[in-house]
């Protein structure tokens, strides 16, 4: 079948795929600096438009009504979602987009298998392998991303969900998947591919269920890598350069971020994915009870405001609690006030602050915090001993000095923000309850630490008012 728009040859289209791939590469390169990032994103988008338009102009592509309808529906949904989504909801939105990419790969793979399998055609072994790989990875990405979305959107509990025999069931499913894959490879019957997809969908669900909220940055990055890999698989099936290069770049980026995130939590990837860290069992009664016998110091907003107003260096350490309380705008207001008084204010940001890699930076940027004030852990740690006040807002485990000092602590070895080395530390917190990991924080009992209790937003508002009066 030849479409009426068939004006270009395969050769021209393949050359245009190279152009698109170059634009992806240059686009990602420009994404590595804040000043060029926006143009990089535009370049990558132009590459995508070129790849899509020239594909439609291929002789073998017809069914224009179907293509136009699909593109129109997808564009409208994409437009509305991208405009409306809140920055705090970025992680779940990226999760959904990952899932859709994976879903599209599954559909393409299943379709190609159906088309190429006998009796219609003879499947070459390599194409078959690629199609099955793409279907497997794509389906895990699809269902896993939807579960991640449901957890982040709080449609289901964010805590790790585990049940007896979960590992055994996973093993069984994996074996079932392999069997279906072998069946699809040997018998070349479509039913086996459907079986493979169903098993992979179940695997995706079971894979994300036991992973807790604070581990989401790793999961999102991991699923991102998977969505890229499934596109690569589809690229092998179709021998399509654009798919292979585009998919591989995404796979590399997702893998890179996955590794960075696991490292920032000082845990192996296997431990994050299969360890169900933070499950209720991890909150040992011994640790919870260790609060007894230690004393902490409480401070009121007025005293804290005076401390801040007459400091020369202040470092703000934001955690996810700040985002949950929607306090980022108030924090910016406080920082502006202090700066106007001549105080040097910076933000120290832990790599896993937030629910996806770099999430806290985006939340603060949305509140108009200038990005030069946002500092990585490596940058801010050497400055903390020279800091007058470290203001910890909604962060806990990433400031626990036990990670540095106590080999017995479950957090030991995790890179932390060394706020305890600042002259004064003020911790904004609801109560003395332990953090996500259920581990008591030594920081709270240090002589240079004071606690300011209350909702993060309300506390910061009181600080703003008090600094104005100071």
């Amino acid at each position: 079948m030849t479409g009426p728009l068939a004006v270009v040859s395969n050769e021209v289209v393949n050359l245009m795929y190279v152009v698109a791939a170059i634009l992806f590469v240059v686009g990602i390169k420009r994404l590595s600096s804040p000043t060029t990032a926006r143009s990089g994103n535009v370049l990558a988008a132009v590459g995508m438009v070129i790849a899509v338009v020239f594909t439609i102009l291929l002789p073998e592509v017809a069914h224009y009504w179907l293509i136009a309808a699909g593109l129109a529906v997808g564009t409208v949904i994409g437009l509305v979602v991208a405009r409306r989504v809140k920055m705090t909801a970025m992680p779940q939105m990226v999760a959904v987009f990952n899932g859709l990419g994976g879903g599209a790969s599954v559909l393409v793979a299943v379709y190609e298998y159906r088309r190429l399998a006998p009796p219609d055609g003879a499947l070459a072994g390599d194409i078959l392998g690629a199609a099955l790989f793409s279907a497997l990875i794509g389906a895990i990405t699809f269902s896993g991303s939807l579960v991640a979305f449901a957890k982040l959107q709080e449609l289901m509990p964010g805590r790790p969900l585990t049940f007896v025999g979960q590992q055994a069931l996973n093993g069984l499913l994996l074996a079932g998947g392999l069997a279906a894959g072998i069946g699809a490879g040997v018998a070349e019957e479509t039913v086996w591919v459907y079986a493979l997809v169903v098993v992979a969908l179940a695997l995706g669900v079971l894979f994300v269920l036991p992973i807790g909220g604070a581990d989401m940055p790793v999961v999102i990055a991991f699923l991102n890598a998977f969505s890229g890999l499934s596109a690569v698989g589809a690229g092998f099936v179709l021998s399509n350069t654009a798919l292979i290069i585009g998919g591989t770049l995404v796979g590399a980026s997702g893998t890179f971020l996955t590794v960075i995130m696991s490292r920032a939590m000082n845990r192996s990837l296997a431990n994050v994915l299969f360890g169900a860290f933070g499950a209720p069992a991890a909150v040992g009664p011994a640790e919870a009870a260790s609060t007894d016998g230690k004393s902490y110091r409480e401070v009121d907003a007025e005293d804290c405001a005076v401390m801040l107003a007459y400091a020369s260096r202040v470092v703000i350490v934001p955690g996810y609690g700040l985002a949950v309380a929607q306090a980022q705008h108030n924090v910016r207001e406080l920082a502006d006030l202090l700066e106007r008084r001549g105080v040097d204010v910076k933000y120290g940001i832990h790599p896993v602050a937030g629910r996806m890699p770099g999430h806290m930076n985006v939340l603060l940027a949305e509140a108009n915090v200038p990005y030069p004030q946002l500092r990585d852990m490596e940058d801010i740690n050497p400055e903390l001993p020279r800091t007058d006040v470290a203001l910890v807002i909604g962060a806990n485990d990433v400031t626990n000095p036990a990670a540095r000092e106590n080999p017995e602590s479950p957090l030991y070895g995790m890179p932390i923000l060394n706020v305890d080395q600042a002259a004064n530390v003020v911790v904004l917190k609801r109560s003395m309850s332990p953090g996500f990991a259920g581990i008591d924080n030594d920081l709270f009992y240090r002589p240079n630490t004071a606690m300011l209790f209350g909702d993060a937003k309300a506390s910061v508002e009181r600080l703003v008012a008090a600094v104005k009066a100071a």
Partner: protein
Amino acid sequence: MTAALIASITIFALAVFLGFELIGRVPTLLHTPLMSGTNAISGIVLVGALLVAGTAETTLEEAIAFLAIVFATVNVVGGFLVTDRMLEMFKRQPEEREE
């Protein structure tokens, strides 16, 4: 192994190294935009969906192709737009504050 497969493997192997070289230099500040931007690029599977739509004959095949196009288009359009929205925030602040 066909020549096409060998070409595909060659491209894949080189792209892996290129990807790690490119991405290793991205600062934490830009990790979220990097992720949503590359996420949009993974919507390149749209090209695959379009090729599939070209050969669709039965209603089932058309339905599969349509769904694949919608999924991939949402991924592409939403991904690039939301990345732009985020990067706009990073870009405009220093100027605003100089006023």
